[in-house]
Subunit: 209 residues, 4 copies
DNA sequence: CATGAATGAGCCTTCATTCAT
DNA sequence: AATGAATGAAGGCTCATTCAT
């Protein structure tokens, strides 16, 4: 009986995933509001009624998609641990990892970001649950690096936002279909790391002159 | 008679602006699809029917908002001209200017970006009309700077996207309500410029060690 | 002053006709309900507001068109007078005349008939003002012919309807675009007269056997 | 399972009929354009949305009503077969039958005819699908009768239109509410047959004199 | 649990009519 | 008298949600 329940739970979870995946695809294609439950159902291969056995309403689908994104972020953050020594190495590896994970989940980002931009409630929830914790941890790390003298003394909070934002901005460019970014995503993290670490300007000299 | 026509044209243009402003506010608040023409009309202080005397349909409102953004971008680009000498000075001034303009038009960006993320047609039009031309000009500029030896030799196309993306990403963070970015936008361009020019890493070397 | 008034009246009448003609064309093309006052105005070469200086509302346009048809019928009826002698000659001439007049006004019939079929009020008014008087006069004429022994004794009221109906039916066929009827309308009155006077059946013959 | 499907199909067909009947009544009463889907729904005893589960749009209701009429005509035409001998008997029986069928479906005719008069597309479809085939068959029949010497040599195409038109005209008179025709429809076919077969004119000849 | 027909609230849009110029 | 911008009521249609099977 317990095992039957276990199997059933697995089936239920699988069905949920199936519907959620379909919803992500349809929402990404049409946008949340323009997407219809009918099309989500067709894409998932179930009837419209079935969706309501797994989700309270259409909005709950969006929330569940957002939760997937939170999961992703949280897992990605685990990466930060145990990387105490080499700053440049850490930074580049971190960027690379984050960008890989983000790109894999880009369609989820697409849906969630599109809605967040025009939905204050969603936005606040995302900021509170995802961005703020991430920022706080990042800032601490950052501050520590400054204290260690590894990083140029700067406005840590804003620098943190610049780094985060530059990754986010590349993602957005990619989601908008920018061809260079979309086709060379893997290389982009290297260039981004290089710029953020060493800057554009050529060493040795001619600046300010 | 000519003046009457002139006055009339002004009134018509003003009415158009009035409706377009209202649409921008409502769309930014609710999102394009959730926004109703009724609410746009109320916000604009006209009747619903009047909207349709100035715009073909609801989608045309979105397109007109997008056109405002195109205008903005085009005017901002004029800035690039006549700045041939000091790279660092040019770059910082350019960033500052772009960021001011972008932030002033942030609600327009909010609406357009939200829709573009999930509307392929809009996206392609924006890429073709705004992003690609901007990128092309920027790349040429960039390339020239590299040739002049002012800028570290790098992957110019991707570096260009990184710079563009970092501005875009800060904007998105601000639009998402990130408090640091939103409240210190003016300072952000300085930090961004510093990072992009000189990098995070402290000079004189302990990297890799 | 009186003459100025006369000239003015003529201008007013001409403008009325202009609008009414435009309305007839547009209504005939789209149907009363689908036609818009805007299109009537454009077709008439006036502004929408002007229509309302000449007609109470859109329905009044329809009523005025119907009145044109009443006029037509009344004038056509004058024909009946002073034709007392030869039945066959009278009948054929009458048919020919009626059919010419009807065909000339077919677009008016098109509009009015289409609306009457689904508008009880209009229908009743038309029956009362046009059909019933016509029928009454026709029946009297008919009855007299029977009394004179010129016409086969028959059910005069129904025979009257059959004659009227056969003309009406040809008109409807023509309005529906039946090519034979539409292209050979002038010949149709002859064939109709022949059939109604002498019948299809060959004389001297094998009927009933 | 098969039977369940059968029952479901029957229910679906019944629901379709229910909506179509309601649409016919409402359209006949108000005209297609003035009729509202809301009123059709109320008349059918379903919700407005349900209409759209069975018909593409409001126009599809009209088309389906027209199809009912096509069906009717096609079934009525079957009558023509196997009636080879007595012309007068055939003709009278044919008229009687056609008129009964037409009168039974008069409200369908009302709706369709009203729209056809002012809708070229509908008109052409009806001419092509219904009138032209009917005319062709009728003409052949007619021609054969002439060849057999049963029918006075005449302009067969136009004579065919006269016969068809006279039935159509009586229908229109009836639809317009002409009391004699409406209340004595059954007798009308007899009078019509008599007139079309033998004509109005008294035999034994005072014609032309 | 799955289904999909039924529902009806609500949206975009049209258009007859008004009225200030 | 002519104009045409403004109005807002009303209609066709969509779609999230419910529920009987």
């Amino acid at each position: 009986m317990a095992e039957t329940g276990g199997v059933r739970d697995l089936l239920i979870a699988a069905r949920r995933e199936q519907i959620l995946g379909a919803a992500t695809r349809v929402f990404a294609d049409k946008g949340f509001s323009r997407a219809t439950t009918r099309e989500v159902a067709r894409e998932a291969g179930v009837s419209e009624g079935t969706i309501y056995n797994y989700f309270e309403d259409k909005e709950a689908l969006l929330m569940a998609i957002m939760d997937m994104l939170n999961e992703t972020e949280r897992r990605a953050d685990d990466f930060r641990e145990g990387l105490a020594t080499d700053f440049q190495g850490f930074f580049e590896a971190y960027l690379r990892h984050r960008m890989v994970v983000i790109w894999e989940n880009r369609e989820i980002f697409r849906v969630v970001m599109s809605e967040m931009l025009v939905n204050a409630g969603l936005r606040e929830r995302y900021m509170r649950e995802v961005v703020e914790p991430t920022m706080r941890i990042g800032e601490e790390n950052f501050q520590e690096r400054v204290r260690q003298g590894k990083v140029r003394p700067t406005d840590v909070p804003l620098a943190m936002r610049v780094v985060t934002g530059s990754v986010l901005g590349l993602l957005v460019l990619g989601l908008l279909g920018e061809k260079e970014v979309a086709s060379r995503w893997d290389e982009a993290s290297g260039v981004l790391g290089e710029l953020l670490l060493h800057g554009l300007e050529k060493m040795g000299g001619d600046q300010h002159a």
